[in-house]
């Protein structure tokens, strides 16, 4: 996966979301990403305009793409349009609008049974080189054992068994929560900007403050390499805590939580990873978990 990202066209970046990877100009940023239970969707915008919208779904049988785009062409009767040419694996239309052009393109990936539909908006006219690079980069990843999640500056790799149950993005704060049903494990990964303004005290104090009050601290360690964490050069703070008294333990309701935090000085971002699992058994830690800041950080309990 990393090799693929590294091989990107200059000026391009990759967004990976819910089993779809797509490369696009770096100045196009994600404005909308689908939540759990919603149809898969991704919207990219530049400074002024929406530039790309992607929808994808797994189908039981291959769709008739020619018929799909013929129907779309009929619905666009009032707008001049022509067939999309030069992209043999894609079907679609190029629509001339009052300002610029809109490209509707669709492709079925038989190995993953996935239909991907893209709408590319070209306010200043089509750039066919960029368009081709984007269309060629589209790749379903749902059949891979380790999925990459990459958007809004956050980059996580994690086993496919984990589902993204919550994703929020506020100004300078991106937070994703992943959940694995069996054996149960919750992972929350956050990336926060402008730490020099809001990080008043040191990182351990902030981590302790962010932890829910019901959790009692067990241990606080700081490591810069080999100990409990990490193969990066960042100093990583680890905070172990537990919730639940005797009764909770008796009914197997007690929970363990481990908070990891580190400051990536190159990006000037604070990263926080929270893992929570039932206290009566080990964590069954995902071996593939990787969070990338300026380097790849592999966290281990």
């Amino acid at each position: 996966m990393m090799a693929k990202a590294d091989a990107l066209r200059p000026g391009f970046t990759q967004t990976c979301w819910r089993g779809l990877a797509i490369a696009h100009p770096a100045e196009w940023e994600a404005a909308r990403l689908s939540d759990q239970g919603q149809p898969n969707q991704l919207s990219l915008v530049d400074r002024r305009y929406q530039r790309l919208e992607a929808h994808w779904q797994v189908l039981k049988r291959p769709p008739n793409l020619d018929a799909m785009y013929e129907r779309l062409g009929k619905s666009l009767r009032e707008h001049p349009h022509k067939q999309l040419l030069g992209q043999p694996e894609w079907r679609g239309l190029v629509q001339d609008g009052p300002v610029g052009q809109v490209v509707h393109a669709g492709r079925f990936f038989p190995a993953q049974s996935m239909l991907v539909e893209l709408v590319l908006i070209w306010p200043q006219g089509r750039d066919q080189q960029i368009e081709t690079a984007i269309l060629r980069s589209v790749a379903p990843t749902i059949d891979r054992p380790v999925l990459t999640w990459r958007a809004l500056g956050l980059h996580v790799e994690l086993e496919r068994e984990f589902d993204l149950t919550e994703a929020s993005s506020h100004v300078g704060r991106v937070c994703w929560t992943f959940e694995r049903a069996k054996p149960a494990l919750w992972l929350t990964i956050e990336r926060l900007a402008m730490g020099k303004f809001w990080l008043k005290n040191d990182l351990p104090s902030w981590l302790a403050k962010e932890r829910p009050e019901k959790f009692r601290p067990i241990n606080l360690t700081t490591s810069s390499g080999s100990q409990s964490a990490v193969d990066a050069g960042h100093q990583i703070v680890r905070l172990d805590s537990q919730w639940g008294g005797r009764v909770a333990r008796l009914f197997r309701r007690a929970q363990r939580q481990v908070d990891f935090g580190w400051l990536c000085s190159e990006q000037e971002r604070v990263y926080r990873l929270v893992a929570r699992w039932p206290a009566h058994r080990p964590a069954f830690w995902p071996e593939s978990l990787l969070v990338s800041c300026c380097r790849s950080v592999r966290i281990k309990v």
Binding site: E27, E29, A31, G172, F197, E268, R269
Partner: protein
């Protein structure tokens, strides 16, 4: 949808992104500025409401100014609003200084600029007239 039924919606909400980016923020010269430990304390003169006449004015005090405190990032943005840079340039500088992407900077700065506009601390030149005048009213 029901919120806006029968009423024209707020023109500020209708401002196109392009308009906002190319507009130039100018500071209200009547605003007095005091530096504080972390940011700035702004005093904005306000107009006495027409209904505030005796005997109401004997009961309701009128200070003649509204005070707004800005934190350090707010101060940085206000200092970038020098009447020469466009909103887009303000965002670029702010994003570069704080290692944000343009969109992150855009979300933070445009929200903040709208708040300054509503409080009469700045005016935007190069916006549709309805929006620019409402901000300074």
């Amino acid at each position: 949808m029901s919120k806006s039924r029968g009423k024209p919606s707020n023109p500020r909400e209708q401002v196109a992104v392009g308009h906002l980016l190319s507009a130039v923020p100018h500071r209200n010269q009547a605003v007095t500025v005091e530096p504080t430990e972390a940011g700035l304390l702004l005093s904005i003169p306000t107009r006495r409401p027409r209904w505030l006449v005796p005997p109401l004015s004997w009961v309701l005090p009128f200070s003649g100014q509204r005070r707004v405190e800005l934190d350090a990032p707010g101060r940085a943005v206000l200092e970038l609003c020098d009447g020469r840079r466009s909103v887009e340039e303000v965002i670029e500088v702010f994003a570069l200084e704080h290692k944000l992407s343009f969109r992150e900077g855009q979300l933070a700065v445009s929200q903040f600029i709208k708040a300054l506009l509503q409080r009469g601390i700045i005016a935007l030149v190069g916006m549709p007239e309805s929006v620019a005048t409402e901000g300074s009213a």
